[in-house]
């Protein structure tokens, strides 16, 4: 079966630094994949290339059989790639509701009133209704992460890229987000989840990919990856190996 998203020999360098060293990966529709690796291993860089924010130095990303090379982030978003950011990018001086509307209104076929209805529906699911008319700057860190979630839900994406969605989030809110991710996935979306929170990764994902210094060092089911000595070494460093 043709993969939904295919990454082949992808590399990226920043000046002299090789952030990605020619990696191959592919994702089938409906997968829920964890992407882990130590700080600076290239996870966010990979997401940024898939989303069109960075230009790859070599290799290709193929979405449903079409090369995405040169497509703008907004075009890729319209093609069904939704993402969150490691450092939350909510629109601080817009209200929570306005934050939700931006993505929906980018589709000109959708009327303003139906976009509004849809936004209220999502906000209710996220338990943010009460804050709909507050400026996003007044949200807590966890609520901002939820809002980013909600904005992506408004797009009905086929592929969801989540970069540290649980960073700084209260455990209770986190459980709430797990439910949403599973719900999303069950509705057919492919999910790629980056997190340093191993509990979340191993609890949610059916496949875990590990990056280290821009290379894939492990890719498989959670149990195998967890016990892979290479992964342990990447995380714990040389003193462990020695």
């Amino acid at each position: 079966m043709q993969p939904q998203l295919d990454i082949s020999n992808l590399s990226k360098s920043f000046g002299g630094l090789q952030a990605l060293k020619g990696i191959d990966l592919s994702f089938q529709k409906g997968e829920l994949v964890g992407l882990i690796g130590p700080n600076g291993s290239g996870k966010t860089t990979l997401l940024n290339i898939i989303g069109g924010y960075y230009k790859a130095s070599g290799g290709a990303v193929t979405l449903e059989g079409h090369k995405t090379d040169g497509l703008a982030p907004s075009t890729l978003a319209r093609l069904g790639i939704g993402r969150s950011f490691q450092v939350t990018k909510v629109f601080k001086r817009l209200t929570v509701l306005e934050n939700m509307l931006v993505g929906a209104l980018a589709d000109w076929r959708l009327s303003r009133s139906s976009a509004r209805d849809k936004a209220h529906g999502v906000l209710e699911k996220l338990k943010l209704t009460r804050l709909a008319d507050s400026p996003a700057s007044s949200l807590s860190g966890g609520q901002a992460k939820l809002l980013e979630f909600g904005r992506i839900m408004m797009l009905d994406p086929k592929i969801v890229l989540l970069d540290e969605p649980f960073g700084g989030v209260h455990p209770e809110l986190k459980r709430f987000m797990y439910e949403k991710i599973v719900e999303w996935n069950e509705a057919g979306a492919t999910i790629i989840l980056i997190s340093h929170d191993m509990g979340s990764i191993f609890g949610l994902c059916r496949r875990v990919v590990t990056l280290s210094y821009g290379d894939i060092i492990a890719d498989g089911d959670p149990e195998t990856v967890r016990n892979d000595p290479a992964v342990l070494e990447a995380y714990l460093g040389d003193h462990h190996a020695a």
Binding site: G51, Y53, A72, P73, S74, T75, A77, R78, G82, R83, F85, K89, V90, F91, K92, R93, L94, E98, L101, V102, G103, L105, A106, D107, R112, R151, M154, L155
Partner: protein, 305 residues
């Protein structure tokens, strides 16, 4: 409608009455110039306040609108209205182009680039003196042959109100929401499927088109234009108006333009000191009341009402 909106409407209504209640021609003239600045300051705030992109080429764009309108009238024998529209189009298209060219620049980098574009325009108009009479200035035919100050005043009032209403219409639409989202975070906006390239360029083009309209009308009103209307000093004056009125809102900025022009005339005895004082007020506003006089007023009335 809030109390503040009623107060603003009251101001506009009062403005429409002025010629009827026998306000001296001298003051009508002053207010007409004030309305020119209102258009210019609000067009600038459209870009700075909503899209978060700073341009120092706004005065130059007004000058471009003026010169294109006047020169096409002179050399192509066009009637006033089509030549005015050509001026608007020229400013809009150049703005669109500059907006597209500078997509990746922001902050001070964008400021410097727009200073360069503005100054190149001014230098070109000054240098091509066979065409423009350089810094000696160019005689311009009137907007309407034989019209008096009251007629001009009404035309400018209508143009200013129409410009601001058009801007508000744009800003209330989904495009206005895209503008503000871009101001807050470009990558975040793009991630939601909004074509950032298109809207950023278009915002620039809209803003300069309004400036071009203001400049064209101004030329046919004062009937003598010089490249000094494109100078950085003039730009600074527009900035002070928008900042003092409140640059985060096109309506505040427009009122700032009229307010400052009125003060400028009312405080004539102060001579050059007026402009220095405006500079100080602009600085204090930026530091302590970034929403400007009218933003402050709106807050005040909101708390009362």
């Amino acid at each position: 409608m809030t109390l503040f909106h009623k107060v603003l409407l009251g101001f506009v209504g009062l403005a429409a009455m002025l010629p009827l209640i026998g306000v001296p021609q001298y003051w009508l003239y002053t207010l007409t110039i004030g309305l020119y600045y209102a258009m210019l300051a609000s067009s600038w705030s459209l870009l700075v306040g909503y899209v978060g992109r700073i341009s120092f080429a706004q005065a130059a764009m007004s000058g471009l609108g003026a010169y294109v309108s006047v020169l096409t009238g002179m050399y192509l024998d066009l009637p006033v209205i089509p030549s005015l529209l050509l001026g608007v189009a020229a400013a809009g298209v150049l703005g669109l182009f500059i907006g597209w060219l500078t997509l990746r620049l922001h902050g001070a980098y964008l400021g410097l680039t727009t200073i360069a574009f503005g100054e190149i325009l001014r230098i070109t108009v000054t240098a091509e003196h066979q065409l423009t009479q350089g810094s000696r200035g160019l005689q311009v035919r009137p907007l309407i042959e034989g019209a008096g100050p009251a007629t001009y005043y009404y035309i400018f009032l209508a143009a200013a109100v129409a410009s601001v209403l058009l801007m508000l219409l744009l800003l209330r639409s989904r495009i206005g929401l895209f503008f503000q989202a871009i101001r807050e975070d470009e990558d975040g906006t793009a991630s939601l499927g909004v074509n950032v390239t298109l809207w950023k360029s278009l915002a620039f083009g809209c803003s300069t088109a309004f400036a071009g309209l203001a400049g064209g009308l101004y030329a046919h009103f004062v009937q003598l234009i010089t490249p000094s209307m494109m100078s950085m000093q003039e730009m600074g004056y527009v900035l002070a108006m928008a900042v003092i009125g409140g640059f985060s809102n096109v309506v505040y900025a427009a009122f700032g333009g009229v307010l400052l022009q009125i003060l400028l005339e009312a405080l004539r005895e102060l001579g050059e000191w007026r402009l220095a004082v405006f500079g100080i007020i602009a600085i204090l506003m930026l530091r302590f009341a970034p929403n400007g006089v009218f933003g402050w007023l709106e807050n005040l009335l909101k708390r009362k009402g």
